[in-house]
């Protein structure tokens, strides 16, 4: 099953830049590159989409169209979430 991970943030977000690469690498290691769709959503360009996801703060992370984190998770939290998905 393909897992779509979306990071919703404002362009130029300093908090996101460093951490996103690390989170993406974790997602690739847990899910495998072939099952991962990673998308960075510019909140200003896709404002309605962000609102429909329920995003109130940034950066937020949605997995398969469902808001899972309303701020950047720690690598451990993110890995745990992905592992939970895997066991479902």
């Amino acid at each position: 099953m393909i897992v779509k991970i979306e990071v919703i943030a404002a362009p130029g977000c300093r908090k996101c830049a460093g951490t996103q690469g690390e989170l993406r690498a974790i997602a690739a290691s847990v899910l495998g590159e072939d099952r991962l769709v990673w998308r960075e959503v510019n909140v200003l360009k896709e404002f309605d989409y962000a609102v429909s996801l329920g995003v109130l703060s940034m950066p937020a992370i949605a997995i398969n169209g469902e808001l899972k984190f309303s701020s950047l998770p720690t690598p451990e939290q993110f890995r745990t979430m992905l592992t939970t998905l895997e066991s479902c």
């Binding site: 404002a10 130029g12 977000c13 300093r14 909140v43 200003l44 404002f47 962000a50 609102v51 329920g54 995003v55 109130l56 703060s57 940034m58």
Partner: protein, 138 residues
């Protein structure tokens, strides 16, 4: 230096509002008289106007405290302020959608009722709300 009454008048707020802002750590008097009365400088007037304008844009006093903290923080940049503004816009949009949903629900209730002199026992709006309550409690 201005007294609380003078600075309140200059900024277009009441003295009680200034005391409340002080309680919320948004503004502090520059000094006090020997008798303990608050004294404010011109910067206070600008700060109060900033607070009022931010409130007009939908920012809460807590948001404004964050904005003022960012304004004074050396490590903060314009991007940080922009993020606060975007998050405020997201919250406003959520509220708007919730209000629109409420408005649509009220439209349905209003359309289902012809009004008139019937007793409230036969009021379709009250009946619909009553039925919804039963559905919720099931």
């Amino acid at each position: 230096m201005h007294t609380i009454g003078k600075v309140a008048m200059l900024a277009g707020v009441s003295p009680d509002t200034l005391r409340y802002y002080e309680k919320e750590h948004l503004i502090t008097p520059a000094s006090r008289t020997n008798a303990g009365y608050r004294l404010y400088d011109d910067q206070a007037v600008r700060r109060i106007r900033f607070i009022k304008t931010a409130q007009h844009c939908g920012f809460t006093l807590s948001d404004i405290h964050e904005l003022l903290t960012l304004k004074q923080a050396d490590s903060a940049c314009c991007e940080d302020v922009r993020s606060v503004a975007i998050e405020k816009k997201l919250r406003i949009e959520h509220k708007l959608r919730a209000l629109q949903a409420m408005s649509r629900a009220l439209d349905e209730l209003i359309q289902g009722c012809a009004g008139g002199e019937a007793t409230t026992d036969n009021c379709p709006i009250l009946a619909a709300l009553e039925n919804s309550l039963h559905e919720v409690s099931r």
